[in-house]
Assembly symmetry: C2
Homo-oligomer: 401 residues x 2
């Protein structure tokens, strides 16, 4: 005799929709046709390969075997110690490799571990809109209450900015955590040092903890400056900064990243990592050895190549009726606003893929009020990226009134 199956858990899983998540539609068998066009949902490692030294370091670690397979949960000291110095130089504020740093299985894991360390059921968390889709999902999964903070970015002539009055009011009303990406994902907008100083002041005034995802802060185009919150006056125990080589350095396939900041939060992140997946893959941690130590010019050339692609894609969208786009200041995302369509954005995205093999991510993934836009990761082969952008424009032309 079998009793009826019981629903096994609280349904926070229903809030994690991965159906339209970047990459999930990629055909690799399983009854899905491989797409013939371009996949703007993530960067193309073939177009921008990792620096060979990163690969060589991982292979050397594998060959070393026992010496590299296991590490402290927070990562190999031999990786953390020299990297802390480089990240301190990059971000403009000191990093204690022992107390203020953890190696994470990708920057995504850094985000999950940091927010899990800070957010409990009922906690109010300020989440920027639009912003990386996982921010909202993780907060919701943890039982936190999302307090949206709009990002002004559409006026390309003006600096982007959070609605700081909203931040101040939410913090005064008890919001305890603020999370945002800078450079912003999906818009490629930068928050300047002045914004960050004001955020730091608000955090200080109200005891808010800030998690800032600076995954793209190295890929900055001429005219922009990536300011770092941790160097903008925030108390060192009120901030964690996420950084990693998955995107601009094309090391996503290794799943390595770092979090630097408040020792008490880093401690919690390590404890949680211990039960989540023990540690970042021991061998893969070595991919960090070459990060920020690549030969002169290698990264500069990468920035220049991305800039050329950005410029051409911006031209395509600016030349198309009804489109509006802010040129990327940093990172490899464009978030063009589409002309008014006769179908919902999800239907447009599906039609685009079906018709042209071009994959983009709906703006709805980045904020409930951003279905008017789509995100493109333009870290791609230049020519194919331009063709893909044209396919976006042509498909909208078929779907406008």
């Amino acid at each position: 005799m079998s009793t009826p199956k019981r629903e096994p858990a609280p349904n926070r899983f229903d809030t994690i929709s991965i159906r339209n998540a970047p990459g999930e539609h990629a055909g690799d068998g399983e009854g899905r046709a491989p797409h013939a066009g371009i996949d703007f949902s993530h960067g193309d490692v073939g177009a921008f390969p990792p620096h060979p030294a990163a690969v060589a370091a991982v292979e050397a670690a594998i060959a070393d075997g026992g010496g590299q397979a296991y590490s402290r949960y927070r990562g190999h000291w031999s990786v953390r110690e020299p990297l802390a110095e480089r990240l301190a130089a990059f971000t403009g504020a000191p990093v204690d490799p022992s107390q203020e740093m953890i190696i994470t299985p990708g920057t995504q894991a850094g985000l999950f571990l940091a927010l899990s360390s800070l957010v409990g059921p009922g906690d109010k968390v300020m989440v920027v809109e639009p912003d990386y889709f996982a921010n909202r999902r993780i907060v919701t999964y943890l039982g936190g209450e999302v307090v949206p903070v709009p990002l002004a970015y559409e006026d390309a002539a003006a600096p982007a900015g959070l609605d700081l009055d909203r931040v101040e009011a939410a913090a005064a009303a008890g919001a305890k955590v603020l999370v945002f990406s800078n450079p912003n994902n999906p818009t490629g907008a930068l928050l300047g040092a002045d914004q960050l100083r004001r955020i730091a002041a608000t955090a200080d005034r109200h005891g808010v903890f800030v998690v800032t995802d600076e995954l793209y802060s190295r890929l900055v185009y001429p005219g922009g400056t990536a300011a770092h919150l941790r160097a903008c006056g925030i108390a060192p125990d009120r901030c964690v900064t996420l950084l990693g080589p998955s995107k601009s350095e094309s090391l996503s396939g290794f799943r390595v990243g770092t979090a630097i900041g408040a020792p008490a939060v880093i401690d919690r992140m390590e404890k949680l990592l211990a039960i989540v997946s023990l540690r970042t893959a021991g061998y893969n941690q070595s991919a960090l050895h070459s990060w920020f130590t690549e030969p002169d010019g290698w990264f500069a050339e990468r920035v220049a190549a991305h800039r050329r692609i950005r410029d051409d894609l911006v031209d395509v969208f600016r030349g198309a009726p009804g489109f509006r786009v802010r040129p990327t200041e940093a990172g490899s995302y464009l978030f063009p606003r589409l002309p008014r369509l006769t179908v919902p954005t999800a239907a447009f995205v599906a039609e685009l893929r079906e018709r042209t093999g071009t994959v983009v991510t709906s703006g709805e993934e980045f904020g409930p009020r951003h279905g008017h836009s789509v995100r493109l990761n333009f870290s791609q082969d230049h020519g194919r990226a331009v063709a893909g952008a044209r396919a976006v424009v042509e498909t909208t032309a078929l779907l406008t009134a």
Copy 2:
């Protein structure tokens, strides 16, 4: 003006103690002296290296680059599809690679994802004692209530067994999940098919979901048989089985594992993985290609070599006054009971390390009532393992009344 810092979250982190966790004391700089002796807290990849095909497959995936960096969150289809067939053959029950399988960043991640998918605050979860230390920690972290289920293993002449009356009573009283390792970590004891059939019947009767960690089920010594719960009559939607090549196949440094079982739970695990760390490192997933396809004799020789070490260690402990040990039936752990000491076990472990450089894990990590024993992972150089076991015996001799 700065307001006092507020405590950022509920203190479930205080329950995750990693201070004495295996590996955490390993010296890799950071002010710690490297230990000169043997580290029984985990296996020695140098003594038992991975099969070269596993390493070659990962290196080929890295070289392939873009084709392998990203996968569906649940893992590359090209890995899952053939592996499902091999795991079906190994466990004796079918595996649908699309619905019933996920690749996880190690078996630890499989455990975290599975329990997170099943356990919410206040849920009663049956946890075996002694058993892998993370089981209890994860349940506690999730807000679940641990219902201990004793494992009888000390009588080496009798089959090991869970206290099934306790399981029945706890299930009748509302416990909804049972988690256990089989082969058992830390004792190396096997639960036989008869036990597993009775567990399946109880699960069916009361709607209990069972998570079984079979990480060591391939390393079985003559006289033992690794039965698999999923082939012992449990409903396919009531069970998830964790398997991985981290231990017996020495691939821990890659962080790859699998979970197979109930589609609804696998779906939740994938959703959670998407926000926890996106996916298992894309390149590393290829380490699974060679798993269960190694040339004839390779794994058999590994079993034989471990058996020889086990036999010598059992002889050392059986010849020492006051020790009691059950010979490992499967896996590479021994869990000898120590003679009555004049100091707490933690002090003994510290003294052993200080005096001889030998690292063992206190039995307290595996259950609050098991401080009388220590765990040794004997997947080590044979000679050094025997010397390390002698160091354990000699150090106890200094600390008995």
